[in-house]
């Protein structure tokens, strides 16, 4: 039942009058939608939302904001992706035909005429950290994916072709899932993931079946980073098959991760296999095919990767006692999609600005619901892009004026905070993710026994420029990415950690806080540090700007044939990221290690801020300048920095740098 129906008689009269005025103004529904006046299943709203009614105004086959068919929210239960199962390398046929080796299998596969494996580089440090856990997953098309299983919604948006990852089985019944299965790993247990490309040629109008799977925020070697392209592999070769990052239909690619923390190859931390303070927590994997990342990820090639350790154990009875995985530890990938008026999943491959959708799709379903017990949960919330920013609130639909708290335990890039922070809202740009604890028992007790709570995005964004900074009114069902339904008794067992008593601002914060010892904040690099990996060797400045309609860094476009600059291995650098693009926002992602954002517009980022901690995306807002400090330890090779508005990324806002034994002194590379 729609809450607004209670006000029907009064608003109906006003709506009728408004509608007549709008019709006289000659605006169609698409224009109304773009002006923020129309939303949901035909609801005229004062502020824009998603899910417009598409009758009129859109042409057949049009893929644009406001053209998707209407859908009804909260009809589908939240889908929680399954965990990717372990495989036995000695018996699984996915491994035995080509045993997983550090050196890639570049022999020609007689069945395809191309090399068995897409990889061309040797896994670094594999002898030191031998693989303990093996996984397989197969990238496949799923021709019958449903964004909603509700009969009415299905009649408007039927089964679709999406791309995803399966559970590793060779059998056709092991279908592709999107989001893909969650990879669960543990520090101290090195992993190898064999990914097979079993995609089909593109029949949907977007998606390129040549893939590179990036493990976003892990400290990987270039061979397993899943980068976009690399001058070290293939060099200037124009043969796509030797470029060494993609794997093509019929090929596999072995991704190897040391599951060691950054610093493992420095004198300070070699004995402990890395600095425990560099522990990573919530990561995600996604496609990174240069020039086509946006469409491939949008088509479904993304999933979560969690890393547990001796403290963050996944069991609420041990260690930090975070809510137990998987029952109370839930990943949420937030995306927004477009459909043609006829209900076909679509993407505009001709746009340069960015793509914002008019359907919120959470874990693959349109505006799902999730039944929760009255206890604490951990949610790992990811902005899956391609271009939308979120400002998330918890809303009681029966009393939208309430300000409902939740607790951040990580920064906005999924790394533990020095002290949890009580929030009533949080902003995420593309690829940022935050672990929050929501205490539904406290909400039940303190906010009038609500039966449901909405996770609502109240940030208005109409195009790929970035958000408008307008905060929409609370309680609009069109803006809801997930409805929580509170069920069961209010005295259910809950052994999990309660962040409320130790959170900022209940407890004042200090830069030396460490609630989650020993995973404290590593010291920031300085100009005079004794160890060279802690000492800032050089300051480099990067301008993110527009150039003849495309996107540049320091006046240059992406170039896969050469590195822009060279960083000396096991040193630190200061990077100044500057937004010179006049009103456009860019979530800047740097591969390799986590960095510290120390200043935003010359203001120190202080404790008590969700950005005070380790990050891998710098949300570079209009005209901003952000200072980051970065260590480059352990591995050698090529890595990218790019805008994670993936349409900007695909239209050239990406550069490649190399970590080598000597660095250069280019200050504006």
């Amino acid at each position: 039942m729609h809450p607004l129906k209670y006000y029907w008689p009064r608003i109906q009269r006003i709506a009728l009058r408004n509608r007549q005025e709008i019709l006289r103004a000659g605006l169609n529904r698409r224009e109304l939608f773009k002006l923020g006046l129309l939303s949901s299943a035909g609801y005229l709203v004062a502020k824009s939302g998603l899910s417009a009614w598409a009758d009129g105004g859109c042409d057949a086959g049009e893929c644009d904001l406001g053209c998707s068919p209407p859908t009804i929210p909260f009809r589908d239960p939240l889908v929680v992706p399954p965990v990717l199962p372990l495989r036995d390398p000695n018996t699984d046929p996915g491994f035995t035909f080509s045993p997983p080796a550090a050196t890639p299998n570049r022999n020609i596969n007689p069945a395809t005429g191309i090399p068995f494996e897409g990889r061309t580089q040797v896994h670094q440090f594999r002898d030191r950290f031998p693989v303990q856990d093996y996984f397989i997953t197969r990238l496949r098309p799923n021709f019958n994916a449903t964004f909603s299983d509700d009969a009415t919604n299905l009649s408007r948006i039927g089964p679709q072709l999406v791309w995803g990852f399966n559970l590793g089985g060779a059998d056709a019944s092991d279908v592709a899932l999107s989001p893909g299965p969650t990879v669960v790993s543990r520090y101290g247990r090195p992993i190898l993931i064999r990914r097979f490309n079993e995609l089909s040629t593109n029949t949907l109008g977007f998606g390129v079946p040549e893939v590179s799977t990036h493990l976003h925020n892990f400290h990987s070697g270039p061979d397993s980073d899943g980068g976009p392209c690399d001058p070290n592999t293939g060099g200037n070769s124009t043969n796509p098959l030797v470029q060494g990052r993609f794997f093509f239909i019929g090929q596999f690619y072995d991704y190897y991760h040391t599951m060691a923390r950054a610093g493992f190859d420095t004198p300070q931390f070699s004995a402990t296999d890395g600095d425990i303070r560099e522990t990573l927590t919530t990561l995600w994997y996604h496609d990174h095919r240069v020039d086509h990342t946006a469409e491939n990820v949008y088509k479904g090639l993304a999933g979560f990767h969690f890393i547990f350790n001796d403290f963050d154990t996944g069991d609420e009875n041990t260690g930090f006692r975070f809510p137990s995985f998987p029952q109370f530890d839930i990943p949420l990938i937030l995306t927004d999609k477009l459909f043609t008026p006829e209900g076909e999943f679509c993407f505009d491959t001709f746009g340069l600005d960015g793509l914002v959708g008019d359907k919120y799709v959470t874990n693959g379903k349109i505006q799902p619901y999730f039944e929760v017990q009255k206890r604490r949960y951990r949610f790992r919330i990811l902005d899956g892009g391609p271009s939308r920013f979120y400002q998330l609130y918890l809303t009681n639909p029966d009393n939208p004026n309430q300000s409902i708290p939740f607790y951040a335990i990580t920064t906005t890039d999924g790394n533990l905070l020095p002290r949890p922070i009580r929030l009533t809202n949080v902003r995420l740009s593309v690829a940022e993710r935050i672990d929050v604890i929501i205490d539904f028992k406290a909400i039940w007790n303190n906010f009038g026994n609500p039966s449901r709570i909405w996770l609502e995005n109240r940030l208005r964004q109409d195009n790929g420029r970035g958000p408008t900074n307008e905060i929409l009114p609370a309680g609009n069902p069109n803006n809801v990415v997930l409805e929580f339904r509170l069920t069961g008794p209010s005295n259910v067992a809950d052994a999990s950690f309660d962040p409320a008593p130790v959170s900022f601002p209940t407890v004042p914060c200090s830069p030396t806080d460490c609630v989650f010892a020993p995973i404290c904040l590593p010291p920031v690099p300085t100009n005079n540090a004794p160890a060279k990996e802690d000492r800032i060797r050089i300051t480099r400045t990067f301008r993110f700007e527009r150039g003849n309609g495309q996107w540049q860094i320091n006046g240059q476009f992406v170039d896969c044939t050469r590195f822009r600059f060279k960083v000396e291995r096991n040193t630190a650098e200061r990077w100044i990221l500057r937004n010179n693009s006049g009103g456009w926002e860019h979530p800047i992602h740097i591969h390799f290690e986590e960095f510290r954002m120390v200043r935003r517009n010359n203001q120190l980022i202080q404790c008590g801020n969700v950005e005070f901690g380790r990050k891998d995306v710098a949300r570079l807002q209009t005209n901003e300048e952000i200072e980051v400090l970065f260590r480059f330890r352990d591995f050698r090779g090529g890595f990218p920095m790019h805008c994670h508005n993936t349409i900007h990324e695909d239209h050239a806002m990406l550069l490649l740098f190399e970590i080598a034994d000597t660095g250069d002194n280019k200050t504006e590379p």
Partner: protein, 221 residues
């Protein structure tokens, strides 16, 4: 796209009184019947991005954009104009170098098209002189047409700014090269001002991809 701003529209319609409330004109779910039949993705792309407009080549030949130039082909498309003092000349000379590196393939299985942004100014003869002056080889067509059609084509191919002031400034026009393998529904772009080696690499990643296996593509006579 430039209509009234949201604020001015709200004011002109007198809608301010309902700020904050959500107003309805249809009941939830409505009475809409099942979705109409879908267009094929290829038809959808053709209809919205590859209009079949009549153009004239620098050799004075009348052609249809979709039927004669793009359908079934691997193409690289950019916009320019003869008296351009900005990026047109360096872009053209980059593409001339790429054309040479492609070693006779342009005009055989890969097709370059440069469309004038100033059709009211650039005659086929002007375009021909421009091509000759820059050492453009065979198989690369320079195109003009009716101004309204050129504008439609520019928008359809995505060579536009969302800001209408920026969009109207032809000296700052979009400098990309649109790359397409039409029967594979595969569309990308690369910067016209990139190094020719990078442009070549990008083109061949698109045009020589093993993923194209089995798709009927025009490979030359």
């Amino acid at each position: 796209m430039k209509g009234p701003t949201r604020r001015s529209l709200l004011a002109s319609l007198g809608l301010a009184p309902w700020a904050g409330a959500a107003l309805a004109w249809a009941t939830e779910g409505g009475t809409r019947s099942a979705a109409p039949a879908r267009l094929s993705p290829r038809e959808r792309i053709q209809r919205h991005h590859l209009p079949n407009l009549e153009l004239t080549t620098h050799e004075g030949v009348q052609v249809r954009f979709y039927d004669d130039l793009v359908k079934d082909r691997k193409v690289a498309i950019n916009f320019m104009y003869v008296k351009c003092e900005g990026i047109c000349v360096p872009t053209t000379s980059n593409l001339v170098r790429v054309q040479k590196m492609l070693n006779g393939r342009v005009g055989r299985d890969i097709f370059f098209y440069s469309i004038t942004l100033k059709p009211e100014e650039d005659t086929p003869a002007d375009l021909k002189r421009y091509a000759e002056m820059h050492g453009v080889g065979p198989g690369w067509l320079f195109l003009t047409g009716a101004p309204g059609d050129i504008e439609k084509l520019r928008r359809a191919l995505g060579f536009t700014y969302d800001d209408p002031v920026e969009d109207a400034d032809k000296s700052n026009h979009i400098g990309m090269v649109r790359l397409g393998v039409e029967p594979a529904l595969r569309w990308a772009a690369c910067p016209g001002m990139a190094r020719p080696e990078q442009t070549l690499r990008t083109m061949l990643f698109e045009f020589d991809s093993p993923s194209l296996k089995g798709i009927p593509i025009y490979e030359g006579k």
